[in-house]
């Protein structure tokens, strides 16, 4: 089922949570709504679910206007951030709830309910837990019960609000791989909210980056990471070095400048390069480069992270262990910093891919 959000606006008092947002979620995709807190991502999810009403705009499931349907009639599975399991019901009854509350005419018979609940519990790997109560489960198990409960009503769309937010790091990583596999298995159009860029890039087919109630970019994880539409997306999707420097025709004018007479009058620009796009060298390399001093070397881990001080402020670089041995870096050593790849954002904010 395709989801279309068209020109949705929502305010809470004076605060504009969503500002004329439009979004298409293609059938069968797993899409991440990514943004800092207060970006409107959860509000958008709740509006799609029908838990909030938009002031302007519409939500369509395929070509069906959702405004005419109450939340319970939209056939949307919703997984709450804090699970919202029914605390006085067993795991079995939690999952069976959506089937039991149906009107008598469409309610499955008891053996059918039993079969379906046990199938779902098998799918979320909680076979032996049917008689337990939510308070007797760990966070990861509760999350899976919440998912099974949402899937029991055979939703056309699955919405997850910060599904892994309340779990510790290791469980979170396991569960998100598991969610990806589950999605591939059942193929239901799914939308999840997260503030963790790593999670979004790791799991989703498509990432929607949001900030201040607006969508900044929609694209595959590769697109948003490698071709960020603007400074915000670039900065939000991982570490980045930001340099204020004069630039001519998109080329930064580092000293010693190739065009000394033009350098002083060239327009000011912001140059961005991720740590892995920063190269280090003992002698001045070709291309844009400037000198810097090593402040600290973090060699624990698969890559080496180097902190440097330069006239443009603090620079972070990531290099291989081999390269570290070649360069013989130590604290206080002076090196040349070259930008292997970088982006220049002139003051109108649009991106220019260079390097």
């Amino acid at each position: 089922m395709k989801i279309s959000v068209r020109n949705v606006t929502k305010t809470f008092g004076n605060y504009r949570a969503l500002d004329d947002v439009s979004l298409e979620v293609p059938d069968g995709e797993l899409v991440a709504l990514l943004g800092p807190s207060g970006s409107g991502k959860t509000t958008l999810l709740r509006i799609i679910a029908g838990l909030e009403l938009p002031e302007h705009g519409n939500v369509f499931f395929d070509d069906d206007d959702a405004a005419r349907r109450k939340p319970g009639e939209r056939r949307v599975g919703f997984v709450f951030q804090h699970y919202a399991l029914f605390r006085h019901m067993s795991v079995f009854e939690n999952v069976a709830f959506g089937l039991r509350v149906r009107p008598r005419s469409t309610r499955p018979a008891e053996p059918e309910i039993r079969r379906r609940v046990h199938d779902l519990l098998g799918m979320v790997q909680l076979d032996g837990f049917a008689e337990r109560f939510p308070s007797q489960l760990s966070g990861g198990q509760r999350q899976r019960v919440a998912l099974a409960r949402a899937l029991a009503v055979e939703p056309r769309v699955l919405l997850l609000d910060e599904p892994f937010g309340a779990l510790d790091a290791k469980v979170r990583e396991e569960l998100r791989q598991w969610l990806r596999r589950l999605h591939d298995e059942i193929g239901v159009t799914s939308l999840f909210v997260t503030h963790d860029q790593e999670e979004a890039l790791d799991v989703a087919d498509r990432v929607v980056v949001m900030d201040h109630g607006k969508i900044e970019q929609v694209g595959s994880p590769e697109e948003v990471f490698h071709s960020p539409a603007n400074e915000f997306v670039l900065g939000f999707l991982g570490q980045v070095n930001r340099l204020e420097v004069r630039a001519l025709r998109g080329e930064p004018m580092f000293a010693p400048r190739p065009y000394p007479d033009l350098g002083a009058t060239a327009p000011q620009a912001r140059i961005f390069a991720r740590p892995h796009q920063v190269g280090l060298a003992k002698t001045q390399p070709d291309g844009p480069a400037f000198p810097a001093k090593v402040v600290r070397v973090h060699a624990a881990g698969p890559i080496v992270r180097v902190e440097l001080a330069s006239e443009f402020g603090e620079i972070r670089a990531e290099i291989s262990h081999d390269r570290l041995r070649e360069l013989e870096l130590r604290d206080g050593v002076r090196v040349w910093v070259g930008l292997l790849e970088y982006r220049v954002y002139p003051h109108d904010g649009a991106a220019e891919r260079l390097g």
Partner: protein, 304 residues
């Protein structure tokens, strides 16, 4: 083991250590303090309780049962039971509705409603009774109209029910609002997303979650409805056999120097209080058991 379990276990250990270090007084200090507390309880609580039954049976069993089976006493008992039977269900329904509205929805005038619910606690019961006299009495606002239509409120059971309802108005709502506030509205939203109607959500999700708190509120409400004196005294008019409740009947008997009779009826009210206390502590233990079990599990560190 999740980090919060570790923290809570550390907290428990700290707590135990704190208690241990707090127990450094000399034994005689401890015994004196405990003795003092027990003496006060005995003097102020147990002695009066015992005296009620002592005086009630002072002139023997026959007088005791005669006082209870006296037609006037019997009518007072019936009126009290009737008043409670009307007030408790109505205030229960109101309390649940108010708590539901306050905790699950946002609307204008919500804080005003919360304040109004507390009003009967703030107003002296005598004044509550007077309000009804001023409203429905012969010289009151609605008095003449009521007389014209042959409706009697003041000096009639209707007035007693109204006054009792006013006084017992907050009990259920006050018990439920904090409980439901703590639980939030997410479970209801989850039920709604799963296709449950508002009615089904209420019966299957909201009510089971608050049942012990609700029962607790109902019991307190009932105890107060049967025990109310001030407000009822103002509106009743003390017509024997017609508008006397048990509390009013006790007062009349006592003023007429029928001590044994007064205490016999009083002993019934006292029994009711004792039953209420037992029920209350039973419910409290049911109420708290899941919480305690959870703490114990976390202390053992197997809540993962």
């Amino acid at each position: 083991m999740p980090p919060d379990a570790v923290v809570s276990r550390d907290l428990l250990a700290l707590q135990r250590a704190a208690y241990a270090s707090a127990r450094t007084e000399k034994p005689w200090v401890r015994r004196t303090l405990i003795g003092l507390a027990l003496t006060f309880v005995a003097l102020l609580v147990l002695a009066p309780l015992a005296i009620v039954f002592l005086f009630a049976f002072e002139k023997g069993r026959d007088v005791y049962f005669a006082a209870l089976t006296d037609p006037v006493a019997w009518s007072a008992i019936r009126l009290t039971l009737f008043t409670a039977a009307v007030c408790v269900p109505i205030n229960t329904a109101f309390g649940v509705a108010a708590a539901w509205a306050i905790t699950k929805f946002d609307f204008r005038g919500k804080s005003l409603l919360i304040t109004l619910i507390d009003l009967p606690f703030a107003v002296s019961p005598v004044i509550a009774g007077l309000i009804f006299v001023l409203l429905f009495g012969l010289q009151g606002w609605l008095g003449p109209w009521l007389v014209e239509h042959g409706v009697k409120v003041i000096f009639a059971p209707a007035g007693i029910v109204l006054a009792t309802m006013f006084v017992t108005f907050p009990f259920v709502a006050r018990e439920l609002v904090p409980l439901m506030q703590a639980q939030g509205a997410e479970e209801e939203q989850a039920a709604m997303m799963l296709g449950a109607s508002g009615w089904k959500t209420f019966w299957r999700v909201t009510l089971p979650n608050v049942k012990w708190g609700l029962l607790y509120g109902v019991i307190l409400c009932n105890a107060r409805a049967m025990g109310e004196f001030g407000a009822v005294s103002v509106v009743s008019g003390h017509v024997r056999g017609l508008t006397n409740t048990m509390t009013l009947h006790v007062e009349i008997l006592y003023n007429e120097y029928d001590t044994a009779g007064a205490f016999a009826v009083a002993s019934l009210l006292t029994l009711l209080a004792l039953v209420t206390l037992v029920l209350k502590s039973l419910i409290e233990s049911r109420h708290l058991k899941p919480l305690k079990a959870k703490l114990a599990r976390e202390a053992r560190g197997d809540d993962a």
